[in-house]
Symmetry: D2
C-alpha cells in the first residue's frame, strides 16, 4: 500500500462543490434506501451506482420507485469518488475496501465487515478470516450516539472507515446504553421483532408473501450474529463483567420496522425517576433519539431516521424494561450511514435526513 495522504477532510457547508459519492450494492434494499435519501441530500452528488453483473442498466429495473432519478447501475466503479457507501453481504466489503482506501475514498460500510474490532470475532461469528485486521483497528463503529467524536475525528485520518451498525444492535444499544453506562445491568434478554425487509432482497422460499403473512416465528435461535456487536459495545460502555446477551429475533409480517424489547435484571434497585433522568441526560440533545412515555410502535418512525426509546421500572418484578424501535432500513441501515457520513464530512448531522415518519 502506498503512503496515504490526508483526505480532503471536513466540508464547508457553505462551499460550492458537492461531495461525490458512490453506492456499492445499489440494487438491494439498503442500496435503494441510500439512493432515495442521498438523491435529496443537498451536499451530495451521486457519482455511481454499482452492482455486480449490471451493465449500464436503468435504475428502474431494480428500484422502480426511483425511476425518476434517472440513474443507471453498472458493474464498474469510477475512480475518484470522495465517499463510498457499501451495502453488501458479509465478507464482500472487506475485499473491496483496501483498494478504495488507496484511492482516498471515505468508506461507510453498511455490512458487518468493519464493525467488530477483534479480528477473532469474524471467524467465530461470520465464518471468515478478516483479511485486513490493520484496517479493522482503524475503523469506527458508526453509531453516532455512542461514537460521534470518533467518527468526526476520522476526518483528519488517511484511513476513513465507518462500520455502520446492524439494525438489531442499533435498536438494542440505543435502548439500553444508558443502563449499561450506569452499571445497572445484571443480565439482559433482548427479544426483537423485525419486518421482512431486514432479511434482504434475495428470493427465498421462506420469505415469500404466503409464508411470511399471517405468521410470526423466531429465527437465529442459539446465536444471531448481531450479538457480537451488541456485546462489544456493551463492554465498551462499561459493563465489565458482561453476561452473554440472550438475544432472540423474530420475523413478523410487516415490511419495515424493528422493535427490540430489552428485559433487564437490574444490578440494584432503580426507580422510574432515576431512569427518566438517565435517559433524558443521554438523549435530551440527540437529533434522532426520542425518549417516549408510552410503549412506541414501529409505525411511529417508519421511513425516518428516528429511534424511539421507552424505559420502565417494573415495581412488581423489580426489573427494568427498555424498548427501542426504528426503521430497519433507515436508522437501522441507510439513514444511520448517512448520519455518520454527515459527521465525518463536517456537515450538520441531520442533513438529508429531515423526512418525518410516514404514518399510517
Amino acid at each position: 500500500m502506498t503512503e496515504l495522504q490526508a483526505p480532503a477532510g471536513r466540508r464547508d457547508p457553505g462551499g460550492a462543490e458537492p461531495i461525490s459519492v458512490a453506492i456499492v450494492g445499489a440494487t438491494g434494499y439498503g442500496g435503494g434506501e441510500l439512493l432515495r435519501l442521498l438523491e435529496r441530500h443537498p451536499w451530495v452528488r451521486i457519482a455511481a451506482l454499482q452492482a455486480r453483473g449490471r451493465e449500464d442498466e436503468s435504475i428502474a429495473g431494480s428500484h422502480p420507485h426511483l425511476a425518476r432519478t434517472g440513474h443507471r447501475v453498472d458493474d464498474a466503479l469510477p475512480a475518484g469518488v470522495e465517499a463510498v457507501f457499501l451495502a453488501l453481504p458479509h465478507g464482500a466489503a472487506a475485499g473491496m475496501v483496501p483498494a478504495l482506501i488507496e484511492q482516498h475514498a471515505a468508506i461507510i460500510d453498511l455490512g458487518p465487515d468493519f464493525r467488530l474490532s477483534d479480528p477473532a470475532d469474524y471467524p467465530r461469528w461470520y465464518g471468515f478470516e478478516h483479511p485486513r485486521p490493520d484496517l479493522l483497528a482503524r475503523a469506527v463503529y458508526g453509531l453516532p450516539e455512542l461514537h460521534r467524536q470518533e467518527i468526526a475525528a476520522l476526518a483528519d485520518e488517511p484511513v476513513r472507515i465507518v462500520g455502520a451498525p446492524g439494525c438489531y444492535p442499533t435498536a438494542t444499544l440505543l435502548a439500553i446504553a444508558p443502563l449499561a453506562r450506569a452499571g445497572l445491568i445484571a443480565d439482559v434478554v433482548v427479544d426483537a421483532k423485525s419486518g421482512a425487509s431486514g432479511a434482504g432482497r434475495e428470493a427465498k422460499a421462506e420469505l415469500t408473501f404466503s409464508e411470511v403473512n399471517e405468521s410470526v416465528r423466531a429465527y437465529g435461535v442459539g446465536g444471531h450474529r448481531h450479538v457480537a456487536e451488541m456485546e462489544q459495545e456493551l463492554r465498551r460502555l462499561g459493563w465489565a463483567d458482561l453476561q452473554p446477551v440472550d438475544f432472540l429475533p423474530h420475523l413478523v409480517p410487516m415490511t419495515r420496522g424493528i422493535l427490540a424489547a430489552c428485559h433487564v435484571r437490574a444490578s440494584r434497585q432503580v426507580s422510574q425517576a432515576e431512569l427518566d433522568d438517565l435517559y433524558s441526560e443521554a438523549y435530551g440533545a440527540e437529533p434522532f433519539v426520542d425518549v417516549v412515555g408510552t410503549a412506541p410502535a414501529t409505525k411511529h418512525v417508519s421511513g425516518s431516521n428516528y429511534c424511539r426509546v421507552h424505559v420502565r421500572a417494573d415495581e412488581r418484578t423489580g426489573r427494568v424494561l427498555a424498548i427501542g424501535v426504528l426503521d430497519n432500513l433507515v436508522k437501522g441501515a441507510a439513514g444511520q450511514a448517512i448520519q455518520a457520513f454527515n459527521i465525518l464530512f463536517g456537515l450538520p448531522e441531520q442533513t438529508g435526513l429531515e423526512q418525518l415518519p410516514l404514518s399510517p
Copy 2:
C-alpha cells in the same frame, strides 16, 4: 340456592342423544369460533346462540362466514341446556353462572372469571370483587394438559365449572410446564406476540387496520392480567419460590396466532438431551401438543387446536429458551374449551377438533 342434584354425568359416545349446548356471547370472535367448531361436533346440538340486545337475528349479521349454519341469535337463553359456553368480557360470566348452575348446566367459561382460585386475585388484577368465591373454589382451570383428571372428575359433581385458560397463559404454560415441574426455572421472561383478534371484536381506534398494519408495539407494560394465571399455575407445578413472571405482550400485524418466547434462567446447568427427555415425557402422548425441533411459526397451527412447543438449551448463554405457538382463537380459546368439554362429558378428547391447520 336449592340443593343441586348430580348431573347427567359422562355421555356414552354410542348413545343416541346429542348434548344440547348454548353459546353465550355468540357474536364475538370467541363465540364465532365456538359455533364454527361445535356446528361440526358430532355429539353436540346447538340449542341457542345468545348475545345481549339481539332479537332473533340471523347469524349472518355477526358472522357472515357462518351464514350456512342458519342459526339465529337472541338475547334470551332457553332453560334446560346441558352445557353453556360463555365468551364474555371479564366480570360478566361471574354474574350469570350461578343461575345456570341452578339449572344444572355444565359451564365452560372462556373468560377469566373462573380461572383464579384465590378470590383476592380478582380485585387485584381485574378490578372487581368476585361475587361467588364458593364457586371459584369448585371451578377447575381448564388446561387439559395440566388438569385433565380434575376436569374429568367434574362429571360427577353437582357444580361443573371449567375456567378455560387465556391465550397467553396457554402458550406460556405449555412451553415451560415441564421446566417448572422439574424445578428448573430460576426466573423467566415471557415475551409474547399476538395477532389482533386477541383484542376482541370491539371497534377501537388503535385496532383499525391502518393503525395495526405495518407496525409492532408492546402493550400492557407493567402488568398484563394474564400474569395472574401464569403464576398460579407455575406455583401449582411446583415452583415454590416463584419469582414474578416478567411478561410482555406485543401486537403484531396478523389476525390469528400467538407466540410466547420464554427466556428461562435455569436453576442449574441443563443439557439439550435432558430437555428433550423432559418434553418428550410430558407431551409424547398429548393429542394437541407437538414438540418440534426447529422454531415453530404460528402459521403451522392456524385454525387448529394444536400447540407447538420448542425448547433449546443455549450453551453460549447457559440459558433455556422455550417457545409455544398456537391459534389464539382455537387452542387459546374456543378449541381448548371444547377439548375440556369433551373431557367433562366423557367423549374422546379430539372430537370435533380434528381439523388440520390451514396453511399457507
Copy 3:
C-alpha cells in the same frame, strides 16, 4: 395403448374399502391442500405423495403444518391407486396421464392440461402442443355446477379424466353463468383480485413479502391464460356470438382468496327481480354456491369450498355487476377437485368438504 377395461366405477358409500389415492406434486400449495382435505376424507386412503426429486422425505419438510399426518413424499408413484390427483405446472400432467390411464386410475388434474377441449388452444395459450388430443376429447371440465352429469358419467368410462378448473375461471363462471345461459351478456369485463398463494410456491423476487405487502398491481395484461377456459365455457353456456372477455387479474397483499368482479353490459334491460330469480334457480340447490345480498368478502369463504355470488342490476348505468368470491386453494383448486372426485366415485358431493370457513 392396450384395450382399457371398465373401471371399478361408483363406490358404495356403505362399502368397507376406502379409495386409494395418490397426490402428484404433493409439495406445492395445491398438493398441501389436497393432503389437508383428503387426510380427513372418510372414504379415502392416501396411498402416496409424489414429488419430483424427493426420496422418502417427511411431509414436515414441505408442509410443516401437516407433520401430524406422518406421510412421506417420494419421487416414485406406486402402481394400483384408484385415483390420482395431479397438481403440476402446465404441460407436466399431459405427459404423465397416459401411463396412469393404462393403470386404470381415475385422473383429477388440477392443472390446465385437460381443461380445454380444442387442442389448438394449447399452443396458443400455453405454448405447447398437446400430446394426446384423443384424451382431451374424453376429459370433462370439472366444474360441478356446470358439468355434474358429465363428471358422474365418467364413472362408467374406461378413460376417466377430470380437468379441474382454474381459480379465476371458477369465480368468474359461477358469477356469470346464469347470465350467459340466459343470453344476457353483450360484453363482459372481468376484473379479478387474487392472493399471493395463487402464484404458487416457487421463490420469485416479485413474490417476496416485502414486494407484495402494502401494494396492489395488475399482471397478465393483454391475455392471462385463464381466458381460454372462460371463453370455452361461456360459449358452451350458449353465448353464441361471444365477445372476447376483457380479463384483468391483480395481485393483492393477502395469501388466500379470489374476487372476480364481472362488469356486464347486458344485451337487454334486466331487473333485479329477474336476476334474483335467475340466480336462485341456478344455485338454490347447489351445496357450495351461496347467492348473497351484499357484496361478499373473500374472508367469508376462507379455508372452505364455498363460493359466494352477488349480482346487482345498476339502474343508473343500466349494467349488471356480478361478483364471485372463493378460496383459490380450495374451491379454486383442491376442494373443487375433491368435489369432482366425489361425484365421479358416486360419493355424496360434500364428503370431506364440510369445513366451515375460517374467519376472522
Copy 4:
C-alpha cells in the same frame, strides 16, 4: 358579505415572509399528511392546527409520529392566516368556508364540498343542499394536470377556493383524461382498489385489522359518490355523449394506495403507438405523472405525490386498458392539495413535495 379585497396574490419565492397556513381537521389522516408535508415546506409557516373539541392538545396525542414537530391542536382557529387547508367530512367545509373567505384566506378543501360545480349534485350524491352555490361557481376543481391555469388565475381573485379532487377521481382521471380528450371512450368500467386509510380514521367494526386483513371486498356497489366528480370532469374533457361511468371500488388489505383499472371500450380502433403519443403529449412535462411501460404497483409511489399511468391497447379484445396508481393520502389528498396551493401562490409546483416514494 362585505366587499372582498384582492388577496396578497402570488408570492415571490425570493421573499422573506413565509405563508401562514392553518390545517382544519388536523387530527385525521388527511390532516396528519398535511402536517407531515407542510412542516417541511420551505415557504410555509404552520399557524394553527384545528380540530373540533381539542383544547391546546399536543400533536403527539393524535399523530404520535409527528411528535417532534411540537405543534398543538386546538378547537379555535386564529384569524389572519393566509391559507386554510380543510380536511373534513362532507358538508362541514361548506359551512366554515364563507367566514374564512371574509378573512381573505385562500381555501384548499380536501373534502367534496367545492368539487362539483352543479349545486344539484350535492343533494343527489351527498344528501345535503349546498349552502353557497355562489361560492361553488367560483371554486376550481384542483386537479393541476387538468386545471393548472384556473388554479393559478385564482391568485388575482377575491374568492380563492380550490376543491381538491377525491382519491379515486384523481387516479381515474389521470389514467383516462387523454382518451377522453381525444374522444376515444365509448364507455368505461373503472374497477378500483384502495387501502384502508382511504376510509378515514374513525373506528368502525368493518375497518378493524381482523376484518380487513386477508380479505378483499367491493363496496359502494351501485353508486359511489366519487362518480359525480369523474363524470363532471370527463364531460369537461370533451366527452359529449358521456355514458354513465361504471365505477366499483374495493377495499384491499393495505394501508395506503389506490389503483384504478379503467377498462375502456374505444369509440374507434386505436393502436398502441397512437396511445403512446397521446399520453406522452399529455404527461411528458408533468412533474408528478409518469407514464410507465409495465403495469405499475401502488408501492412504487407510496408516500409520494407521484401518479403512475399505464395504457395498453389490447389487440385481442379491441379494448383499451388504462391504469392509474397513487398514494391516496398524498397525490390523492394532502400532496395534491399542496400542489394546488403552490400553484395558487405562485411557488414552484413541486415545493415541499420532492420526497421520493418509500419502497419496499
